[in-house]
Amino acid sequence: MSILSLKNVSKSFGALTVTDDASFDVPEGQALGIIGPNGAGKSTLFNLITGNIRSDQGNIHFQGRDVTKVSAMERCLTGIGRSFQIPQPFEKLTVFENLLVAATHGRNLSERDVRDDCADVLERTELIKRANVPAGQLSLLERKRLELSRAMATQPKLLLLDEIAGGLTEGECQALIRTIKDIHAQGVTIIWIEHVLHALTSVVERLLVLDFGKVIGLGDPDEIMASKEVQEIYLGIEV
Amino acid sequence: QGAKIRLGYVSPQSGPLAAFSEADQFIIDGFLRSEAGANFEVIVKDSQSNPNRAAEVAKELIIDDEIDMMLVASTPETTNPVATTCESEEIPVISTVAPWQPYFIGQQGNPGDPGSWRPFDFSFHFFWGLEDVISVFTAMWNQLDTNKSVGAIFPNDGDGNAWGDPNVGFPPVLDAQGFNLTDTGRYQNLTDDFSAQINAFKAANCEIVTGVPIPPDFTTFWTQAKQQGFNPKAASIGKAILFPQAVEALGDQGHNLSSEVWWSPTHPFASSLTGQSAGDLASGYETATGKQWTQPIGFVHALFEMAADVMGRVEDSRDPDEVASAIAATELNSMVGRIAFDGAGLPPFAVQNVAKTPLVGGQWRMKDGGGYDLVIVDNSDHPNIPTGGTMEEIS
């Protein structure tokens, strides 16, 4: 059964069509990678799925329910978690409090109930040492980790990750891959936008290619990467 | 005794009502210089024309300055919060310069229900009432040949509601005297347009206008009336044209506007403190300040006369009950006439707390060199106050 399904979703900003008639399904438990050039509309697609922006057309179903008109907050409660490409920490709250907000509201539990879960997430993302530091003081990499941690703290069924591997050292990147695989192994469906292809392909089972808001390819990562079209538009520098 | 008697005095020294207290300093200085005044200390507080502030400073005077008696003047916005505070603090208070109805009824819980009205134990007031101003105005109008159709502009404030009150205000009396009143309702102060009223007055063919607006509103009204071709024969207005500056602000449109006159330099009264006549007091003020005399001068002066008189008759100025009884027993010939709480001319419920002072009618006449003079044109209720002319139509 597919956990998420988009049907003919479109979104324009003024004259610019950023999402153009996108339709695809994500089976429950799958890890899907999204690639595409800068400005292709990848982040916008996330915003549409999470409800941070509303689509102009089309329908979005999550777990069989039509969530097209449902608010971002409610979509989170039904199990969609996300990270932002440009980290959006609650700057005046500490790292731990950032997670507390997500865990208590995203799961509708009391602080006491989620305390250990939050600590656990912080251990896994190696932010535990920074738990009591205001998020505004974090470095870029730490902010990205916080994005991932905060999304994990809501214990989503569908986790959307937007470029969280950029700028990591090889070691960090491997650790990140392990963490994500771990989450995936627990049955969480993952959609991951990433430019660092080797990281992406080592996790995802399917790859979606976006260009000018259009889905121009969807399928097995190797096949997608091998297709000429993708080579041309995405890996332009490689050929 | 040694210790001086402490008087608290609240008035609006700043804010929109400040014109009422322009003479305060002059009067208080005079009082303290007088023989009786030497026993007193006067603590003055500014209400900033704000009723909240008036109540606050009244309380400060009572509690922090431990005054023996409170004096307060100038519009219900000042007298009422102060009097209410004093009454509940059980400190004697004498107030003035507010018609007695807004003072008395305005402090009752439910002004609409006369059955619930209660007299005060510590609060006393001397001034005239609406019945007087109605009588003066109608007497002035009766001097002219008119169709007896009157248009009224009464705002939704302490004065306006009292003047327009269907029981104690203008409507029943005018009705009884055969005047036809067009009252369009209580507008808010600082209204910028009076076309509605002007249209209604024109429709009713009003030849007389009355009301108790604040000065800027009357200017707006009067200017618009002229612009829209509404030219009544008489305009008898309370409050707005009390002060010469306000009339001067009308340019040459102020000529022959009429108003109630509670005090003037020609009033045949003298101070019980200094023996000065009304004329002396006014000219003293004019030389001291270089400003034209205004009506509140006499009443503020009388307020301090009252203080001296009352305190002269008590054993212990710190005993509120004794002071209150002394006030109630007052019979004083003051700068504003005789003050006595004997109930003369008053309904039973107000007898205990109110003393009435005389009221006559006057008209503003343009002087040759610019500026206006207030000329008394009607004294039918108080013939002892001389007139300076007769009522003229607004040309």
């Binding site: 509201h105 305390r115 809501t154 | 509690i63």
Partner: protein, 351 residues
């Protein structure tokens, strides 16, 4: 090893002990202080309540209202209405004052929440004007003239006789003391309540929404609901304060009860001077405001000029207020809300 969460700091523990002492002194104040002090404290406490609620609204909820006088006035008029028209005792009527404010807050919110920023500010101001003008048409309560509380009602108020007897004071003083104690209860409940709210997950959500609304929504925070909670709570508390203030004044008029300067502008002044977005700020602010008023109020327009200039200077020099300045320098928090994770892997090396 297990993790634990604390919010206390050594400073806050000392502050708590001192705070408890202050509360004891404040409760006992009528037994040894003069009426003047009680009066001043009543003023301070009621302004503090207004300031705390405005701070909750603007400092935590991001809702900059300049129409709080609507709730003060509504509360006050509700109190006068119930006392004069229904013959209820003023003390329980205070609660109804809060309820009345709440009742008009609901349609106000429906309308005002459609607006943002400056529009919201002006919109709330206009609504307060509308309420004032409507109340000014309420003839049974004096219309534009205003009215006074019947003396019988204030004289026989609940607890007054008891206080008269216990403390051996006159009835006017007893009423002041009663009003003071009510104000003290209200102020303590307000500060306690707001502090409690900030320490719940709702408080966390408020902070999150303030930092980044979009991200807050994405982690399941109901930003809209937070706005409602904050707005209605402030309205209720402001209404209670309004009722209490006018119970003590015993005289009301629309212009006074709905004064934008007295009940909103000065309150904003207090909060901003003290430090917006902190529980401590309004406390400092109200003390400064009171000090200024007692020192300068007799200078009439010079006082107001000073106040105006001070508002400008503070905003430019210390935009986060006096408390902001202090806590930036010292890291001091009397009402700490930061949750610190300790134990587990954090035990070994703490910062």
């Amino acid at each position: 090893m297990a993790y634990t969460v604390t919010t206390q700091t050594p400073a806050s523990r000392i502050a708590a002990i001192l705070g408890a002492l202050v509360i004891v002194v404040l409760v006992a104040l009528p037994f040894f202080a003069g009426r003047g002090t009680i009066q001043d404290m009543f003023f301070i406490l009621t302004m503090l309540v207004l300031a705390q609620f405005w701070n909750l609204l603007a400092g935590y909820g991001g809702l900059v209202s300049i129409g709080q006088q609507a709730f003060v006035g509504m509360g006050a008029y509700a109190l006068f209405g119930t006392v004069i028209l229904w013959g209820l005792d003023p003390v329980p009527s205070i609660l109804l004052a809060g309820v009345a404010a709440l009742v008009i807050a609901v349609p106000t919110a429906f309308f005002a929440f459609r607006l943002n920023g400056a529009y919201f500010a002006i919109g709330t101001w206009v609504i307060a004007e509308v309420v004032r003008l409507l109340v000014a048409q309420w003839k049974t309560l004096g219309g534009g003239t205003g009215t006074s509380l019947p003396r019988d009602a204030t004289r026989d108020m609940w607890f007054v006789e008891m206080i008269e007897e216990t403390l051996g004071v006159r009835s006017a003083a007893a009423r002041d003391i009663l009003a003071y104690w009510l104000a003290l209860i209200l102020a303590l409940a307000t500060i306690g309540g707001i502090y409690w709210l900030l320490r719940t997950r709702r408080g966390l959500a408020l902070a999150a929404v303030r930092d980044n609304t979009e991200a807050a929504k994405s982690v399941g925070v109901d930003a809209g609901r937070m706005k409602w909670i904050v707005f209605l709570t402030s309205a209720f508390g402001t209404g209670l304060a309004g009722g209490l203030i006018y119970m003590q004044k015993a005289r009301i008029s629309p212009d006074a009860a709905f004064s934008v300067t007295d009940w909103t502008a000065y309150v904003i002044f207090i909060v901003v001077i003290g430090g917006i977005g902190t529980v401590e700020g309004p406390i400092i602010g109200v003390l400064v405001f009171f000090a200024l008023q007692s020192l300068l109020a007799d200078f009439g327009s010079w006082y107001l000029m000073t106040l105006g200039v001070l508002a400008i200077v503070i905003m430019l020099v210390a935009p986060r207020g006096l408390w902001g300045l202090l806590s930036e320098r010292t890291g001091l928090h009397l009402f700490p809300i930061r949750r610190r994770l300790t134990g587990g892997k954090l035990t070994a090396s703490e910062e």
